[in-house]
Amino acid sequence: MKNILTLFRAEAYSSLNPRRMVESRSKNKGGAVNLLFGVFLVLLIIGSACFYAFTIGKALSDAGTPESLLFIFFAADALLTLITAASTGSARMFRATNMDALMSMPLTGFQIYTGKLMAFLAENYVYSAIILIPAFAAYAYYAAPSLMFILAAAALFLTVPMIPVGLGLLISALFSLFSFGGRSRTVRNFIGIALFVGFYLLLMSKSGDIMAYLIASGGGVIDAAGRYFPPLKWAMEGALLKWGPLLLFAAFAVALILLVAWLASLRFGRRVGALNASPKAKAGAVKTEAARSAFSALFRKEAAGYFSSFAYFMNTAFGPIMLVVGAVYMAATRSGAATNDAMREALAPIMMLVAVLATSTCSTAASSISIEGSRLGQLKAMPVRPRDVFAAKIALNILVCSVPALLAGVCLIAAGVVKPADGLIIIAGVLCFAVFTSVAGLLVNLRHPKLEWTNENAVVKQSASVGLTLGIGFVFSAICGAVFYLLTFKAEVGATVTLAALAGLAFVAALCASLLLKAKGEKLYNSL
């Protein structure tokens, strides 16, 4: 146990210490600046999450089912954590760069795995806090439970993330059995993405049932939770201060984590050896290529790096994937067939907000400087202008966001969910937002890079710049929500005008970010 805790402390120090989240330029400015930056970052993100929690909470409270808010936020937290754990678990648990050193120490596989698992869980509490604490606060505000709710909320906060972490790590451990490098890794990645898409489609197809329960009485919500996943019902009952189910839920969560740690650490040394071995060299053809422009070479480098890493891809692209899969599902099932014009008017701005939120989760540019790591020196020694380097990184981010946005827009029009003109404005608005989030993300990463990392997930999950960029995206979408509310419900203008205003807002934001990058980017890059 002592060894597990020692390892946990070391791992958690490197992943959770706010001073480790940013480096280079800011490290010279001392810990206080970084600490203040961390506090600002957390407040920014929690502020945005509170906006959503209280807005949704009010609607559900008016509908008479405030506990549905907890159901939605538990599910959202579980879904995000599950995706993260499943896609990054292998890299975190088996392929970290410090694995050689750990394996040479007198530690068992269970100790190493459990120490790392606890650090991973602790890290996820930070992310879960962003989702769950605003939800608890909004529920407490609208449902006014007794003071004992604080105790129940604390127990739920500690135990709810354990289930998706445990299940996600179990999935990643199973996948790691098939990881032997080379082509099998590509096949595994495709299977992983297919499973993710399948799971998401299943959720989409069941969403109608779930929504029906949510609209129904409070008892209906709990029944719905129990029907799909019994422990979720126990958690919901725990939130309603039923201590027996709460204890049952906590015991289930802890038992699951321990079981995963035991199962995943079986034959640990062998698995670590197989996963960290250099892939067997397959001598391909040595073929030089026709000369390309520097920009083309840089862009191809960015794209090759991005699409070759499943963990990095899933960490940054799950939002656009969910967007496009959802839209294709709507088109395939002709979801808008029974929708009238008034409903289309109401749905259009909401669809744009959903697309903006999904796009804001794609943060390749916000981690693109960090991912260079110690290779940045070689890149800087090459005869390329910083603006070419920036353009390649931004172009990849825009590509990853814009293709799904275009497809989603076309599908929404084809599904009859929105009018064609509105659909085109939605596409234009989301494209402008994609430019904004890419440029802003790059700018933030230039200011706060994380060039030293033990695995590539660290540049996404443990990076202040990615967090800040996500925060900027959430704040922007919250502003869009406020504009939508003012224009639709106060000024009572039509959907097309509202959409045009939102697209205009995104365009102005993109323009401002681009001008800022032009003014500051090169200086920041040279100072790294």
């Binding site: 397959k282 030089t288 000369a291 005869p383």
Partner: protein, 235 residues
């Protein structure tokens, strides 16, 4: 070819990694840069390669200011870092194509040079494999080929012999001599004093960020071995 004038670099205000350093590397020079760990060798080399910016002093490549026209300067030299960190997801040949594209090397020239240097360093047959399957020495060889692919006139290298097998180290020394014979120059740091003594015509010794000796190899070592002089000067 490379002129460093009154170069200073501080990572923190008032704490200098290198202070008031001046060096002049001319055509035909193989210039060794020697110093203990943390003396400021890598800082100087990274600044000369345009990796690190600097506030005090000037660095000129062929008379062109690195501060004012960095891209033009960088076309004239190649930099080999101390640690061959590469894009491991790429195949070796893809990486070489990437570097050749950046330097604008034509298809025919890159094909010829890849084959020439690949065979010299005995890595040609492995260039079709992904870099993640390479050993440290193979990565180092790949970096060396990528540095030579655009026929630079100046090579700036940080500990170039680390990780190379004896045959490859010999080949690299031959390539350095060949570059110099063709009117180029080499500026490199090393801890291997025997190598520096044998192949450098000029050298400089740096201690705690300041230059303590600079001149021809013969001037610096006199009748002693380089090891003796180095130990005495850096004591």
């Amino acid at each position: 070819m490379l002129r460093i004038e009154r170069f200073s670099k501080a990572y923190e205000k008032g704490v200098y990694a290198v202070r008031d350093l001046s060096l002049h590397i001319e055509k035909g020079d193989i210039f060794g840069f020697i110093g203990h760990n943390g003396a400021g060798k890598t800082t100087t080399i990274k600044a000369a390669a345009g990796v690190h910016g600097f506030d005090e002093g000037e660095i000129y490549i062929d008379g062109v200011s690195l501060k004012e026209r960095p891209v033009e300067c960088k076309r004239r030299f190649a930099y080999i870092p101390d640690n061959p960190e590469l894009y491991t997801n790429m195949k070796g040949i893809k990486y070489l194509n990437f570097v050749a594209d950046i330097y604008g090397v034509s298809a025919s020239e890159r094909a010829e040079r890849v084959e020439k240097y690949g065979r010299m360093l005995e890595i040609y047959d492995d260039l079709g494999s992904v870099i993640s399957s390479y050993s440290h020495g193979m990565k180092q060889k790949l970096v060396i080929i990528s540095a030579l692919i655009h026929s630079p006139k100046l090579l700036i290298m940080d500990e170039p012999f680390v990780g190379l097998d004896p045959r490859a180290a010999f080949t690299v020394k031959e390539l350095m001599a060949q570059l110099v014979a063709e009117g180029g120059a080499v500026f490199f740091s090393t801890h291997v004093l025997d190598v520096a003594e044998k192949i450098c015509n000029k050298m400089a010794i740096i201690k705690n960020g300041s230059l303590i000796a600079c001149g021809t190899t013969a001037e610096i070592k006199g009748d002693n071995s380089l090891e003796e002089v180095f130990l005495e000067l850096t004591e």
